[in-house]
Symmetry: C4
Subunit: 224 residues, 4 copies
Amino acid sequence: MKKTKTRNKRAHNPQATGLMSPNGTRFAEAAVCLAEIGKGFHARGWVLGTSGNFSAVISREPLRLAITSTGLDEQFLEMDEAANVVRGDGRPSAEALLHLAIVRGVDAGAVLHTHSVWSTILSGSHAAQGGIALEGYEMLKGLEGVRTHKHREWLPILENSQDMIELGEHVSKTLRESPGIHGFLLREHGLYTWGTGLQEAKRHVEILEFLMEVLVRSGAAQSA
Amino acid sequence: MKKTKTRNKRAHNPQATGLMSPNGTRFAEAAVCLAEIGKGFHARGWVLGTSGNFSAVISREPLRLAITSTGLDEQFLEMDEAANVVRGDGRPSAEALLHLAIVRGVDAGAVLHTHSVWSTILSGSHAAQGGIALEGYEMLKGLEGVRTHKHREWLPILENSQDMIELGEHVSKTLRESPGIHGFLLREHGLYTWGTGLQEAKRHVEILEFLMEVLVRSGAAQSA
Amino acid sequence: MKKTKTRNKRAHNPQATGLMSPNGTRFAEAAVCLAEIGKGFHARGWVLGTSGNFSAVISREPLRLAITSTGLDEQFLEMDEAANVVRGDGRPSAEALLHLAIVRGVDAGAVLHTHSVWSTILSGSHAAQGGIALEGYEMLKGLEGVRTHKHREWLPILENSQDMIELGEHVSKTLRESPGIHGFLLREHGLYTWGTGLQEAKRHVEILEFLMEVLVRSGAAQSA
Amino acid sequence: MKKTKTRNKRAHNPQATGLMSPNGTRFAEAAVCLAEIGKGFHARGWVLGTSGNFSAVISREPLRLAITSTGLDEQFLEMDEAANVVRGDGRPSAEALLHLAIVRGVDAGAVLHTHSVWSTILSGSHAAQGGIALEGYEMLKGLEGVRTHKHREWLPILENSQDMIELGEHVSKTLRESPGIHGFLLREHGLYTWGTGLQEAKRHVEILEFLMEVLVRSGAAQSA
């Protein structure tokens, strides 16, 4: 009787039926963390209307990412280095190519895209300058590798586009030409930032969103 | 003894006594979703003071809507195409006729009315222009059928009124004359938006509220 | 054995030992509701730093109020018509005399005092005018007895004072001279509003706080 | 068998192995309270990006503080009067010397550092004046020892620095020269405040953050 029970259990348990390869486990863990992060961002109004997308590298060789399913902020699938789905249903977020460009360009382990009121306003008001300079703020020290508030962080603004191949190349070019940046904005679209892991990437979101809020509330958008 | 218990249970269980017709089930499910959506909107300050009202179509032939009970944001009743109550106690929200006008005018499956600080300000500051143009924002792509941030969304502003028959006709006229819109404002009153289902309507609320917040924080209300 | 257990239970149960008179029950119910309302207001930032105080009438003859204990937003005691404590420990909130003046002046069943950023700003910027006029907003219809957005609501501003006897008389005078008002402000201090019961009073807080937020965000404080 | 189980349990239970000295208990209790306070502040956006740090005195002779572990807002360790770790893993927050300077300078029992948008803006806009005057606000009465809204609170602004020894001396000097203050700002960095215990310190955070928000929303940062 006990044995039968166990067998039944196995039949409904992906782990027991061998589905849980190391990648499978990493995917499942990443999906839980990504969903948790997305829920917190949604509560803060940073990814309203399914406007955010999030990814985490779960394998380097071959490259595999857990990434937001298109139009579903809290559902994830696994994709390969060509944005083909290898686990889960649906299509990856339209911005999948940008995530791949970032993972390759800066060797990131996680990429987070938020779409806040602050980044929407500033990326519009400062588009002509090509970016926003953040300087003198203690909060900058939370960015990986930054040691003093005297640091000057450049947050490039890229023209928005619906051509993801073109935009992905633009992202790659920006990452090559501006080494050391921690994020960039797409015009009237939002923020991309990253980290070696999800916690670092999440910290970068909080810091950059905070500093953009400071700028808007200081009147920077009006005087740009 | 066991049987008696079961019978007693049935007596208090609408499902067991046959009350749960297909419409009854759909009504119950819609009421749960509407309450959940309302609770989230209330937390964001979008429907303070029982100022919101929400509906979902649960049958087309004959037309039946689950709709907010007047003055009670989290209680719902079922009404027919003439706003008569066919299930539940109380009266439907005073704006029931607007919900019916929208359901008929654009074949919506759900209608949501929020009453935020942002829509109150903008519908006052832009009343003379008759509406607000939203253009260039990536967030627009979350509106059903929109494919590019270059889309120009027109958000008409209707004069507010306590005469719901007159206002309902005004809404019908607006929907006929501005095909393709995803919502409209009542002056110093708030936003109406809709969708084929509740999730789409909720997404439209988040997107339009977000874009109105962007406009107010960008100084649009002052420069109108 | 079972009997002993029951007896022990009773010994620790105020209800079983006769402490729960009708007033005791009403006090306990009011305290739960007041705490719930206070918690929600605190989350919205309307009563930071134990700056709010709340009361509910639990008996008219003789007059008894459940009211916030001084310095403890979520603890309550029962006081009589002279602000003497008749149940619970501690002292009633310093503003107890204002609650009593309101309960007597407008026959209110509940009085809520919030202390938001919005009321602090507006009561300072508009002090010279003696009050704030709210007109044209649909949200006004949520105030008891108001039927149209064309209603003009006058929100008087009283000079702040630490002399509660003097301030209580000022409140009584204001209520006599401005019949029909739904609340008033103390200068750079906050909002007092009320209702026949707690739900109505809570709705009035949400509506008046909302409208003050609209005014500040519209630039009213700068142009006063 | 049962005995073995108990012994195993003990081996992993600090309480059973005698680790729970009076200090150990006080540390554990302080850590729970500090974590709870930090979580609430994070929800309000006052300590984004692990930018906050919190401490509570758990013993005076010898001096022992529970304090935030560097980079981990919700993890705590115990340190002595020279900022050496005496319990827990990791290093204390880089600002440990400031906490010690405050505990010694004003005999505080708890020190809280928040890093809000409001304090970041105001400490920048008012740096040239050397501080911010808060006067006329009822909310001031929530500061320990303040009896009237007519009180004038001076909130000094110190130049930010990464040299914690220098900054600690600057803090000590400020506390000597401005007796009676309840907090100070570090330029474009944030607020430090304190109390005889954690609840008082938390109340001071809420009050000072509230008043800074009032100033920014009143336009004080633009007119400084």
